[in-house]
């Protein structure tokens, strides 16, 4: 059990590096990533857990960073979109026109990336279960669906 009041130093593991940040106990992980570490790929879209634009990976699982305190991330591996290095899903989003304005893209990329890691044989139902956590207002989701399918084990099954 950790306890602190006022600002304290947190050691976080972000994108494979250990960083030390001064944060308040009430600071969300999203806030610390963006404002303290300059990792603005994760976006605030609702700060209420509804839109998924702030999704990052914590120990490989997608988490809405607006719903997690930075203090809770201590001892866990955080991966942001900036930590993806030429992941297949990034190229797939470009190839399949998986975005327009790009604001929701980081969040979708992180969910899709994790889905492919954990369920490389995901079917439509599982894809939908995972991706319904996130909202996109520009596309009609067809391109995002095509992008994630193109990186799953047996490739695209529906155009």
């Amino acid at each position: 059990m950790r306890s602190c009041t006022g600002k304290c130093f947190l050691e976080l593991e972000v994108n494979g590096r250990t960083v030390s940040v001064a944060a308040k106990p009430s600071d969300t992980l999203l806030h610390v990533l963006r404002e303290k570490l300059g990792l603005t790929g994760a976006k605030p879209g609702c700060e209420n857990g509804d839109c998924g634009a702030c999704t990052v990976l914590v120990d490989g699982m997608p988490v809405k960073s607006c719903l997690m305190l930075a203090a809770e991330a201590v001892g866990h591996a955080v991966t942001t979109v900036e930590g993806l290095k030429d992941a297949p899903i990034q190229t797939a989003f470009v190839e399949q026109w998986g975005f327009q304005c790009g604001y929701c893209t980081s969040g979708f990329l992180m969910v899709c990336h994790a889905l492919a890691l954990h369920h490389p044989d995901a079917d439509d139902a599982l894809i939908e279960t995972w991706l319904q956590s996130n909202l996109c207002r520009c596309t009609g989701y067809a391109e995002i669906r095509a992008a994630v399918k193109s990186i799953l084990a047996d490739g695209p099954r529906r155009a």
Partner: protein
Amino acid sequence: MNTQLGVSVKRKEARDKVTGAAKYTADLSQTPLLHVRILASTQAHALLLGVDAAAASAMPGVRAVVTGTDAGQLLCGGILRDMPPLARDRVRYFGEPVALVVAEEAQQAMAAAAAIQVRYSPLSPVTTIEEALVPDPVLVHENLGSYQRMEADIYPRPGTNLFHAVKVRKGDMERGWALSDETVEGTFHLPQSDHAAMETRAVRCSISPGGVIDITTASQSPFEVRELISRYFDVPQGMVAVHVPLVGGAFGGKAAVQLEVLAVLASRAVDGACVSLVNSREQDMATSPCHMGMRAELKLGARRTGEITAARMVFHLNAGAYADISPKLAKAVAVDCSGPYRFPNIDCDSFGVYTNAPYATSYRGFGHAELFFCLERMMDKLADALGMDPFELRAVNALKEGDLTATQVKATRSNMGDLVCCLDRLKSLINWSEGARIQEPGGLIRAKGMACLCKTSDTPTDASAAATVSFLPDGTVALNCAAVEIGPGIRTAMAQILAETLRMDVGRVYVNMEVDTQTAPYYWKTVASMTTYMMGRAVRAAALDARRQLLALGAVAMRCPEEDLEVENERVYLKADPLMFAAFRDLATGYKYGNGNAVGGPVIGRGSYVMDHLTLLDKDTGKGKAGRSWTLGAQAVEVEYDPAQHTYRLLKAATVLDAGKVLNPKTARGVVMGGMSMGLGLATREEFVQAPGGVEGATSFRTYKMLRIGEEPEYLVDFVETPQVDAPFGARGIAEHGVIGMPAALANAVAKAAGVDIEELPVTPELIWRKKGRP
């Protein structure tokens, strides 16, 4: 050189957008930075008796509290100046900005805003169009007659809640009704809703000691921000610098100028320090402008053969508390009130109406999704009454070359496109011939509905655009234009137009993603699906201007007449011997002879375009030209309806647009599908819900429902290409049109499936159940 058009060029900023490197307004690093929080009204209509900020001002980190009185007598509005930036004397909608707190940290600003004491004396709110129109109504604006009108053709009616009226009178209504064998009527209700761009509106502002107001904002209208801030704060336009980086979706909602004014007030209160104002999602929905609602009454008369002889239409737009762009929305609805059809006799009135609801601004489709919901439901009702096929009824009435539109503009193939061709394509795409209502085994019903659409630009008659083309010493090209990248890949499309005109590889054309009003040439705004046309013309003109200069310099360098030369592949070459050439890199900054002498100088191409031949509408008849052309099309939706639950599933949605020329197929398809998705959102679930007293009830994504993956239909998209002769390479605007016919097509499908009349949105199971339940 292969063509750079009609090919799916990846958007220029693609890599940045999949790596987190793409920067939007709130991503930019800035130190020091103060944070602004809006205190919003908790009342829909109330007298504002007092705002006590004493306690808030003393809270930790608070640097300033700004209230309505700090803005003096300032009233804002691009068309009608009816809106105080912060409420004074009274509040007119739930969510209206009442005060601003500027603090060192965002949480401190939020805490202090909550500590401001506001005393309201509640007034009866006007929550519906019906309430706004009763005799002797509660007035949302008691001083309507005193507001400054920024344009000549706006007609407020003091003593009422009507701030604008547009009339369309065409033909002879008595004769029209006399010729009709069948009439149908409908009364339609559409709710207000939200743009819901994933990036909430955000702005940064600082004021330099020299007085330059520096604004970075998520806006579709950087030059209008400049103009209005200059006007409101009485500073020269050159002292207002507006920057717009990438914008995270806009859909018309970021065309309005609101937060920028608040940010200037906030920065002014802290001696010009840089302030950041980022809407929370809740305030983006409740405080910033929304998508209008509508009430409409329509009556159509037709011959037995289907030809429509008379149309009477009254539209009341629920614009909420302030006029903003709504006078133009009222006009746009009136201008296209007869759709892509030949209605010989029309009597149409379109009104902008104040209510105590969030104020409306432009929204993808600019009033047309609402108009076409009403019109295309009426067409289906008429088809039913006449026992005609819905496709057939539309084809019978389609505008033909030489026919007059509602405002008496002559239709041509170039300005209108080919509706009948779109209808034919749509019919096979959606497999209409299998039947529009099919009983499935197990009791489910599969049904299809369709709708037509069209839209013209409704720009100011003098809307304009400009661009410059310059060359890098390596022979590559840089494009400078103020089209904002809000998502549809417009800056990539501009690069394609430039590359095609210079016959070079689009990969060698550079276009940055930020717009800066201090350096980019003027552009009206990135709205109305008009950037392909207006900015496209300016870019093409700039490219042709550069080409002329390259040919002239090439002629000097190669000692031959210009007419012997051609431009391609970054070379000016001799037509008779293409291996004799001067490369762009040898001409771009001036040509140097062997002995060191130089001629020419950096090549800069300049291009401008201003709308031509547009007119204001006649006050009494509406006669006039509101746009250069239309984009038309037809859409269909297929649903699977469960008669036991009154629920339905979206199976397919289809769109055929006459795009003139498809510049970038994958991008075009994506933009159309996105529009369809948004239209299906309006059709099936999206609405603002006001609790009694006018309190907004759906201000988060938990209560305001949008389509999520898995709920989308299979999308079928196709294009017809009837060139618009005056457009760049024939291309029409297509960015909004996917949304327009979707609500009507969905409602027509559900009406057919459930056997009910549908005259309101969204089409929820509850609505169907209520309709079914009625005797």
